[in-house]
């Protein structure tokens, strides 16, 4: 069966959300599109929007391909999605406060104790620590897919240091620069207020001991990190210092940065560096990226880390399978976003089924990310499958398996024309003291290779601008600004 196409559905004409895009594509000269596609690439390179691929010394800096055909969702689709995202991230935060606190969900027998306490991402340092407003995941990136026009599925929760938001912002910028006319015809919800929303969230969670105007910094591992461009881009938009570990030090359980005026107290650290490297006195002693004593200041309640330490225990693929129960347990609500059906290979029945059906399944490492270490059964050779089978039998706890989903496709400019390519969507969900904020949009990733289901940038994926437009049918003006006033469910 062909995949659901965001523009054509299952082939019954053009869906309303895509009418503008269809008209635009129909009236555009392919040569002109080709030229603009090249120009987009030039713009990205000139601005320096690059990323590094680990283990690829030749291409120290690459750009993620940008596709000029936007991906479109209607206001009502977005309303459902944003409600579901708020629900999901609220539950994630409740879960983290629980597992580092009373552990009720474990005592209730809903999530197995060993999945939590034996989890490599579980941080004993966090036990019993009270965080401002119990917020652990200030910034979440939730990967969403769909296979028809009814349901949204969560493919993965990213609760550690999700990246990609700079592409959401830059894609919009480049799209507007190259196709101003498109934006004149369609009213698209803006995303440019993301940095303001982020800063408001971060400031609202400053420690109680911080001054009224808390100092926020963005911490990066440095220019060699693959996402360094994003770090500097965000620091700039936020108007905060971009610091490395060596710029910070801890004195009497307070964090300071070295400035040209002398030491300055730091209250909130938006860190884009993994737990392991934060503090050599607590985590990896060989890390030179971190700040000795940081965790002591954190535990003393003198600094906020965003995201908190130890959030990885919630976005692990084994915990993922329990997310529907987690939502129900804490919120007493039915999950709005669906989970992809998943076999837990740690359970013998599941493992047997998975081993019998490897050629049709996608098998992922519980701890893996970035599209590495996974098997896409239907796209693999016999040898690859057998090699994977051995890995799986050796360590069933380390894997989960899912059916190979026909991710929806979206029209994409490839070579000489437009063709459908599989996509996903990563919206960014901000949690502050007062509320959850989601700018309408996100990062749409697209698998540029024909038939490929892997959208990761490290594996040949590209990105698209993501539009949330007013529902075209009713002809009403779109809602002002960022308010998500539409509430009818479905799409």
């Amino acid at each position: 069966m062909p995949a659901f196409d965001e523009m054509h559905g299952f082939g019954q004409g053009v869906r309303s959300a895509y009418r503008t895009i269809q008209a635009w594509l129909d009236s555009s000269d392919p040569e002109n599109l080709k030229r603009l596609q090249k120009e987009a690439e030039f713009l990205f390179r000139r601005i320096g929007i690059t990323f590094a691929v680990y283990g690829d010394a030749e291409a120290e800096e690459r750009i993620i391909p940008f596709d000029i055909v936007p991906r479109v969702l209607t206001g009502s689709e977005w309303a459902t999605l944003s409600k579901g995202l708020t629900q999901r991230v609220t539950a994630l935060n409740r879960f983290l406060a629980d597992v580092y606190g009373a552990g009720e969900i474990i005592r209730a027998g809903i999530v197995p104790a060993d999945l939590v306490y034996q989890n490599p991402a579980f941080r004993p340092e966090m036990v019993g620590l009270k965080l401002p407003h119990d917020v652990y995941v200030q910034i979440a990136g939730i990967d969403i897919i769909r296979t028809d026009d009814k349901d949204f599925y969560v493919l993965e929760d990213n609760a550690r240091t999700p990246s990609g938001v700079s592409y959401m912002l830059e894609n919009r910028d480049v799209q507007m620069r190259l196709f101003p006319d498109l934006f004149a015809e369609t009213r698209i919800q803006p995303v440019e207020n993301y940095p303001d929303e982020l800063l408001a969230s971060l400031r609202s969670l400053a420690p109680a001991s911080a001054p009224a105007e808390p100092t926020v910094v963005l911490m990066t591992p440095g220019p060699l990190n693959s996402a360094y461009y994003e770090h500097s881009f965000l620091a700039d938009k936020l108007g905060v210092e971009l610091v490395e570990g060596r710029d910070l030090f801890v004195l009497d359980e307070v964090v300071y940065m070295r400035t040209t005026r002398g030491p300055k107290r730091v209250d909130v650290i938006y860190r884009r560096i993994d737990d392991d490297f934060l503090d050599p006195m607590v985590f990896r002693p060989d890390s030179v990226l971190g700040i000795p004593g940081l965790i002591s200041a954190y535990r003393a309640g003198n600094v906020t880390l965003a995201n908190a330490v130890g959030t990885g225990v919630a976005d692990d693929k084994a915990i993922y399978t329990y997310m529907p129960e987690i939502v129900r347990f804490y919120l007493g609500e039915e999950p709005i976003l669906k989970n992809v059906p998943t076999w837990r290979c740690r359970e013998p029945d599941c493992l047997r089924y998975v081993l019998d059906h490897l050629p049709e399944l996608v098998v992922k490492e519980v701890q893996g990310s970035g599209g590495y270490g996974m098997l896409v059964g239907p796209k693999s050779t016999k040898e690859q499958i057998e090699a994977f089978r051995a890995k799986l039998i050796a360590d069933p706890d380390g894997f989960i398996a899912q059916p190979t989903l026909a991710l929806s496709t979206s029209p994409t400019f490839v070579g000489d024309g437009v063709a459908p390519r599989h996509i996903d969507l990563r919206p960014f969900v901000l949690t502050g003291a007062d509320k959850v904020r989601i700018v309408p949009g996100g990062l749409t990733r697209v698998a540029l290779k024909e038939g490929s289901l892997v959208v990761n940038s490290s594996q040949g994926g590209g990105t698209k601008d993501t539009w949330i437009i007013a529902d075209p049918a009713d002809g009403a003006p779109p809602p002002d600004g960022q308010s998500q006033s539409q509430s009818q469910a479905g799409g």
């Binding site: 390179r45 000139r46 601005i47 320096g48 440095g222 220019p223 360094y228 500097s232 881009f233 620091a235 700039d236 210092e241 971009l242 610091v243 490395e244 060596r246 710029d247 940065m257 070295r258 400035t259 040209t260 005026r261």
Partner: protein, 313 residues
């Protein structure tokens, strides 16, 4: 601001300025090599160009002979010369990248696109035209960088640190070029006569792109003592030592005003400036031009260290 960022800005400006200066040195040498005059003492114009960057020893560790080919390769493209144009641009961009948040978009795009455009140019077998294009692009990069900083940056500490880098580097370069030719500028020296001297003096002015402005200021032929006066004591000449130090002092004063605190670098800079302002042309030659310049180069480097200690550590 972060000390590390201030340090990156300061060195970013120094390396951009150095790249431009080196480009001018190569252009001046190319021009001199097209004249029928050879310098005295067996030193050719190419060796002089290397000496202008203060790295003659390093050059001779790598090349036996200073020829057009070896010198252009060394000054423009060599990775073994930390001050080659290529290395200057690499370091400048790496610094710009680590301090992007303190740069405006225009400044970053200037550095990044200039770096991309010139990184492919590499061969020592460039045609004259290709070399000249390359050097023009380097100068253009520096001019655009300077201009975009001037036009788009907030006037705060980031700007002051950037400017300090520019003027300290510029003062160093002017002093070195003059020191190289201190002997031919000495009015007491017996003239070789003829056009040889003229080409030497004009080489100096060209290296700091001051030949035309010399004529505007003096409305006279080139005279060695006036060349020295122009590049050391005339405040209206933007590459003169006194002008560089007016700017160094200005930017250090702005910093101390913003920070509400003065330190060793402010005191040192003011002292150097008032020394320059109190110096007269006869006084200069009484001390000895070469001695004066060598002293200045040292004092200038010491001020750089004082700035680093006070702010960049």
């Amino acid at each position: 601001m972060l000390s590390r960022h201030a340090d990156s800005l300061y060195w970013l400006a120094r390396y951009v300025e150095r790249a431009e200066n080196t480009a001018r040195l190569i252009e001046a040498a190319t021009r001199l090599s097209a004249t029928p005059i050879t310098a005295e003492g067996g030193r050719n114009e190419w060796e002089m160009a290397v000496d202008g960057t203060g790295t003659l020893d390093l050059f001779h560790q790598q090349h036996a002979e200073a020829t057009q080919r070896t010198v252009i390769d060394y000054l423009a493209f060599s990775h073994a010369n930390p001050s080659s144009i290529r290395n200057c641009l690499d370091v400048a961009r790496a610094n710009a990248r680590s301090v992007r948040t303190a740069l405006t978009m225009d400044m970053w795009e200037t550095i990044n696109s200039g770096w991309m455009e010139t990184r492919g140019v590499n061969s020592p077998n460039l045609t004259r035209q290709e070399l000249s294009d390359f050097l023009s692009r380097v100068k253009e990069l520096s001019l655009r960088f300077d201009g975009s900083a001037y036009r788009t940056m907030l006037r705060n500490d980031a700007y002051y640190f950037l400017r300090l880098g520019t003027f300290i580097e510029r003062a160093d370069f002017t002093a070195r070029v003059l020191a190289l030719k201190a002997d031919v500028l000495d009015p007491n020296r017996p003239s070789v006569g003829g056009s040889s001297d003229y080409f030497q003096w004009s080489w100096i002015l060209r290296s700091v792109s001051a030949l035309t402005s010399y004529h505007w200021v003096y409305r006279d032929n080139l005279k060695p003592n006036l060349v020295a006066e122009f590049l050391i004591l005339r405040a209206e000449m933007p590459r003169s030592l006194v002008s560089c130090y007016e700017n160094v002092t200005l930017n250090l004063d702005s910093l101390s005003r913003d920070y509400g605190r003065q330190g060793a670098s402010q005191r040192k800079a003011r002292m150097l400036l008032s020394q320059l302002q109190d110096t007269t042309l006869p006084g200069l030659f009484a001390i000895g031009l070469k001695e004066f310049l060598e002293r200045f180069i040292l004092d200038n480097a010491n001020l750089g260290n004082a700035i680093a200690e006070q702010y960049l550590g």
